[in-house]
């Protein structure tokens, strides 16, 4: 495991520092990195309200089909990414079940950056839900009861008592979904259309460079992606700790 990683860390420098810089600041690379990180962050942000709603309903209410719904939440993790990729494409293509509904609205999802976003929302959702659920179950009922007895409305209790207590785990779920989204490949490449500069994600660019036998260039991009996500996760982790301490 260490030797392969060493290769990833050492190979880029065959180009020399200037060569690495040049290969990473290529406009096509920058566009791909921007798309991968931007779409992953946006998808993770969209998954926050989605995940909050689903986790809330799953932990607070009993309803028929709840067990089935619970198993369904892990579907994006269990479904092979290539399968998810082609089925999302079929759904959102102009003739697909959802795509056909969006055509009159003038919204194109498949083969656009919007498609990337849809795929990343799909794969990221379980991370947010599964992070929130245990924390929601552990929320002390007393705090909510106290707020209610003191005359808070349900909405006030939610915004002033529940959400702040969930903030650290919301951030954790966001980070997990983001990390997964940045590197995601299989579920994205089918629906994205993969137009250079527009809807081409960074992992795909790594594959393209490898196919051109540009090993050093591929390794440089891979290493850059790793370092960027590492720094991002480190920052989010810090933020999460600070939030948690603030609450305690």
């Amino acid at each position: 495991m260490l030797i392969p990683l060493a290769a990833l860390v050492l190979r880029p420098w065959e180009l020399g520092a200037a060569g690495v810089w040049q290969s990473l600041t290529d406009p096509r690379v920058l566009a791909a990195l921007r798309l991968s990180f931007g779409a992953a962050a946006l998808a993770a942000a969209i998954n926050l309200p989605f995940g909050l709603l689903i986790a809330w309903v799953m932990t607070r209410y009993r309803f028929p089909g709840r067990r089935l719904a619970d198993a369904l939440i892990d579907m994006p993790l269990a479904l092979p990414t290539a399968v998810a990729g082609i089925s999302l494409t079929a759904l959102f293509a102009p003739k697909g079940w959802i795509g056909a509904l969006l055509v009159p609205l003038g919204v194109k999802v498949a083969y656009t950056p919007l498609g990337v976003l849809v795929a990343l929302v799909f794969v990221g959702l379980p991370f947010v839900v599964r992070t929130l659920e245990p924390v929601m179950l552990d929320l002390p009922a007393e705090a909510e009861e106290a707020a209610a007895t003191l005359g808070a409305t349900r909405l006030q209790t939610l915004c002033r008592v529940v959400l702040p207590a969930l903030a650290p785990s919301l951030l954790t779920g966001f980070a997990a979904a983001l990390a997964r989204g940045v590197g995601e490949y299989g579920s994205v490449i089918f629906i994205a259309g993969n137009m250079p500069m527009v809807s081409e994600i960074a992992p795909l660019l790594i594959v393209i460079r490898l196919e051109q036998f540009d090993y050093a260039g591929a390794a440089a991009l891979g290493l850059a992606m790793l370092l960027l996500s590492f720094l991002l996760l480190l920052a989010l982790n810090r933020g999460q700790h600070r939030l948690a301490r603030h609450l305690a």
Binding site: A7, I54, E145, E184, V207
Partner: protein, 281 residues
């Protein structure tokens, strides 16, 4: 608690409850269920016979066999290595322990494409060992060994991850008791360690197998996409899709979806078992 009447704000109105449940179920239906339904509906769109035909082609056969072969090598390998890693991490303190723990988790936090890339950097035509391998007529990349390496790398964390929290919670007491009573290491393993971890182990193996058969990104990089030779089922789905063989692609995809459904079902059963064991302990 019961003597005090519950404040009305704590028992949300029925309407609000119903609306929230409806919203969540709709969201899950559109986002999670619909993609699954589409796979089967597209596969069966031309009738059942085309499904059988699509699965009986030589390339489909080869893809299914290759997928099973890769999983048959990878899963046992990762079961043994995962158990060893979990045992080391749960039982011992040693220098580099944190490093090992990070390495175990690493494949989960790395893009699958990077998990494939590292092997090409080592063994590909321009890789560190590429020329040497070429001179000796050994093929790793664009061949079975590459697929196995990439899949092993990606699926390594599952078993260890399932075992570590359990082994740590159980502690070494029972193993030590068996040792003091004169059991040898093999006896301790078969009669004490293994029965204690069996459900969690099955859980890890299940997830490991599902990912091994469904992995796409990592194997896409090392496969070389040679039809009938280096295409696993997920890669074959891609090849068919790119050839506009819509029904064929969704047929193979449906087969993979069935695997995912079985995995999810078994997982629910195992989780119930594990909760049960924890409750009894």
């Amino acid at each position: 608690m019961t003597s005090v009447p519950m404040p009305s704000a704590l028992t949300p109105p029925r309407l609000q409850r119903a609306v929230l449940i409806l919203l969540a179920v709709t969201l899950m239906g559109v986002l999670l269920l619909l993609p699954l339904v589409v796979v089967f509906s597209e596969a069966l769109s031309q009738g059942f016979e085309t499904v059988v035909e699509a699965l009986e082609t030589e390339d489909a056969r080869a893809a299914i066999e290759l997928t099973l072969l890769v999983a048959a090598i990878t899963v046992p390998l990762n079961t043994v290595c995962g158990m060893a890693a979990a045992w080391c991490l749960a039982r011992f303190q040693f220098p580099g322990r944190t490093l090992l723990a990070t390495l175990v988790e690493l494949p989960f936090s790395v893009s699958p494409v990077i998990s494939g890339l590292v092997w090409v950097l080592l063994f590909g035509a321009n890789g560190w060992f590429g020329p040497w391998l070429d001179a000796h007529g050994v093929r790793i990349i664009f061949a079975l060994p590459g697929l196995v390496l990439a899949t092993t790398f990606v699926t390594f964390p599952f078993v260890a991850r399932a075992l570590i929290p359990l082994m740590r919670a159980q502690g070494p007491a029972e193993e030590e008791a068996a040792l003091t009573l004169g059991a040898n290491a093999a006896q301790v393993f078969w009669h004490v360690t293994l029965p204690n971890i069996r459900w969690a182990l099955m859980y890890g193996v299940l997830l490991c197998n599902a990912r091994a058969m469904g992995e796409f990104g990592a194997v896409a990089v090392v496969s070389g996409h040679i039809r009938g030779q280096t295409l696993t089922m997920p890669l074959y789905v891609e090849a068919l899709f790119n050839d506009y063989d819509w029904v064929g692609a969704f047929t193979v995809a449906a087969l993979l979806s069935l695997l995912a459904l079985v995995t999810l079902g078994l997982r629910v059963l195992l989780e119930r078992h594990m909760d049960h064991g924890r409750g009894a302990a």
